[in-house]
Symmetry: C2
Subunit: 391 residues, 2 copies
């Protein structure tokens, strides 16, 4: 049994956020007959999924595009985010007349399991205790996120998606969709991603988690029940992560060693350089919109991702016999998911005999380029989606 | 007035460390007639410098080599560290028969101003209050560190150094020595360094400082007086920094996605991957030997370093007319101080008409390669120091 409602009634993303904060999100609820069975062997009963749709599903239900969000993203891909009041995170890409054209496609985007924007996550109420889950929520993996999305797509009556698209962790989900449900994905668009999380990326995530867990206000994950919030630790985690989303050369171009509001250094520990005040702002604004425990869960899901390991250690095995058509996109200055990671996906797809094109976009904007105004990316996505329509 | 004593009698590097912990270090004390005048315009009276020497100064005092340490290094370059009980940090490079051969050279290494191993730093007693300085210590810069080293070298009766050598922040000091005291440096060996701290590097330092200052046990810098210690914040700072000392490929070779003590993931937040437990160990062991406020001061000194800015914005001006001979060394996988930074130094030295050679060492060990067993580095240093002797 699955039911949907609007507006979203019953989740709290953080102690400061009530259901009224996310009024524009749809919520799909699954009854006890439809638990989410997790990779860990555990299960989530009473799963709910916060999601958004844009455009109109056509008569034969063949124009659905699932957009998968990144680590701290959410379902508000192409409309104002009700929590931040800012535009959707991919409005440059998704909308009427945009590369993912909502005049032609029915776009679905759902908050991942473990998240904090309406889908079951550590801030959700544990039905067994009536308290927030906290760390009692079972660990979530990328395959778990994708399995939940498939439940949503089923509930929406869509058998086969025209495309699954996403960047970064969203790209991991795209690869997982293509591997788990090859017959349900006509086109796959993994952007700025890789087939596994690298040792260095795990290391950066671990620093972020340690920063959160070092904050005494984290309270062993029970901060919601104890009416505190590990804001400082979460801000530090975000600051460290944010550096990895940019590039050395991009930072140099944007900030260099420019000082903040003065001609010479202040000989102190206040934000002296513009890059410092920029990072502090990133940290502080992040804690207003994101749940600290969700950050633990979702980073962990990325760390655990290793698609080849689930297919006998050979990535090509994940795509053997696939009919899905792929367009893989990377960015030259992305050092979080370097081009080489995308190339390893392309090699595996070729070895599996898949239809695959590869675009490496020249840019100094690092990993975050996938979210930004990158004409080559837009042209590639537009071309990829249009060409497939004529088949 | 300068006096030296041995063992070191009167500094505390952190609340847990007494003077007895660093018995093997020499200490040079400067009287009130010899204040250290700082770039900020402020001054340190009663400066003391913890240092070590190896080998014998020759009759004409011409065989002195000053080794400058990196961010968290100290004066124990080639003998057991009395705090950690571990070998000196550059025993592969410095010692009898080593590339910097203590059978031939008189090697001096001093703890930087702002440090916590015997030189005046934020954990030292403020003579005006009788309490630890904490944040009342004036900010320190790389030129300040070098000016203090020059006072030490003066006090040791050495007019001209045969060589100044160092990696990372030590390399910044080498460049500063060559710029500030061209007639006192016969040979300069800056390794894995750059002429300024980049925006990305400032960003990583800022994350570390924010992690320390977010720890409630930091107490606005007064943790020594209040008998606490911001251990968790300092450990997170070290973890974040440590990632930047290695390389993506080196981490992949050393750790990959190897799991810790088990065959499959634990679906939890304990250290699951080997890289996680390695990083946690780095963080925890660091807090045993380093003072949190010193970490703030010394990172800030690196951030402020911009040699060209002090010479009219043109790096070559820092070296005009120099007679110093240079050997600049970088490492291919160092992304903290990429080869391009060293090349910019080499270009400036060439533009200034200096004698300069440049070695780029091929390695996957990242920035930390300068501390490790790198045969090309050793051969280069040995050759550079030997060739100069024959002039």
């Amino acid at each position: 049994m699955a039911t949907t409602s609007h507006p979203a009634p019953s989740f709290g993303a953080s102690q400061a956020r009530s259901e009224a904060d996310n009024p524009s999100s749809l919520v799909m609820r699954f009854g006890p007959d439809k638990p989410l069975i997790l990779e860990s062997g555990r299960r989530i009963d009473h799963l709910q999924i916060g999601y958004q749709t844009y455009g109109t599903l056509n008569a034969d239900r063949s124009n659905g595009i699932l957009v998968c969000h990144a680590l701290t993203g959410d379902q508000h891909v192409a409309s104002t985010n009700p929590v931040t009041g800012k535009p959707g995170w991919w409005e440059t890409m998704v909308g009427p007349g945009k590369p993912i054209d909502t005049d032609r496609f029915f776009v679905i985007c759902s908050n991942v399991v473990g998240g904090c924007m309406g889908t079951t996550g550590p801030a959700s109420t544990n039905p067994e205790t009536g308290q927030p889950y906290g760390l009692d929520l079972p660990l979530i993996t990328i395959p778990d996120m994708v399995r939940a999305q498939a439940m949503l797509v089923d509930a929406l009556g869509i058998d086969r998606l025209y495309c699954v698209a996403g960047g970064s962790m969203g790209g991991m989900q795209v690869l997982q969709w293509a591997a788990s449900y090859p017959d349900r994905v006509a086109n796959a668009l993994p952007i700025a991603t890789g087939p596994r999380h690298s040792s260095q990326n795990i290391a950066f995530h671990e620093v972020g988690r340690q920063a959160i867990m070092a904050d005494p206000d984290w309270r062993g994950g029970r901060y919601l029940a104890e009416d505190t919030s590990p804001r400082k630790g979460l801000a530090v985690a975000r600051m460290a992560a944010h550096i990895t989303y940019m590039s050395d050369e991009g930072l140099h171009r944007k900030f260099g060693r420019n000082l903040q509001d003065r001609d010479k250094v202040a000989f102190g520990f206040d934000a002296d350089f513009q890059i410092e005040s920029y990072l502090r702002h990133q940290g502080l604004s992040f804690v207003e919109r994101f749940d600290a425990n969700s950050y633990l869960y979702v980073t962990r899901a990325m760390d655990y991702f290793d698609l080849a390991a689930d297919f006998g250690g050979r990535l090509a095995n994940a795509f053997l016999g696939t009919k899905t058509r792929f367009c893989v996109v990377s960015f030259t200055s992305d050092w979080l998911f370097p081009t080489e990671e995308s190339k390893s996906v392309v090699r595996a797809l070729n070895a599996a005999g898949a239809k695959v094109s590869f675009v490496e976009v020249e840019t100094d904007r690092g990993h975050d380029a996938f979210l930004l105004d990158e004409p080559v990316l837009f042209a590639s996505v537009r071309g990829f989606l249009s060409a497939s329509e004529g088949r």
